[in-house]
Subunit: 99 residues, 2 copies
């Protein structure tokens, strides 16, 4: 499996419209058939020193393999999402893990 | 859903025995029935400035809800894993996301 984990920090997290716009953009990705499973979440209320809850959205995607992940990266819905939503975030942090 | 994402940095990443011991410890967690799905991975070979591939292991767990996550945290197999393996890692970074 190939797990693609993305964290987004909004430029203006205090603006609900920006939350809504990024959430809508993330939801638009779920139709991409290269994805096996996708989870779109926001920070849980768990609080320990080792827990980072500073982000605004998490996108965790599971793919069958790297080829499926690469197909997702080039998919028109993904490219449209980046073009439409990139102005909303200040920072993105990504981890890719294979097993 | 409740997604629990953990990254581990080994104290001695150059020692294969430490890799193997942590991998065995992580594998021992998969028998905990509170978990819906679990992925245990190592860094993919993707390389972009926004991608963090500095970690040694990723553990991504999906739970039905926070109650299931909390049951996992207190499960004897999880407590045994921490007791047995905590000396192996230098740093742990956790993100919890709910949807």
């Amino acid at each position: 499996m190939f797990v693609h984990i993305v964290f987004f920090w909004l430029k203006n997290p205090e603006e609900q419209a920006n939350h809504d716009a990024l959430k809508a953009g993330l939801d638009s990705l779920t139709g991409i058939d290269a994805i096996t499973t996708v989870y779109i979440g926001t920070p849980a209320d768990t609080r320990r020193p080792v827990i980072d809850h500073s982000y605004d959205f998490n996108l965790t995607m599971v793919f069958a393999d790297k080829a499926a992940h690469d197909a997702y990266q080039e998919h028109p819905l993904h490219l449209a999402f980046v073009e439409k939503c990139a102005h909303l975030w200040e920072r993105v942090h990504i981890y890719d893990a294979v097993s």
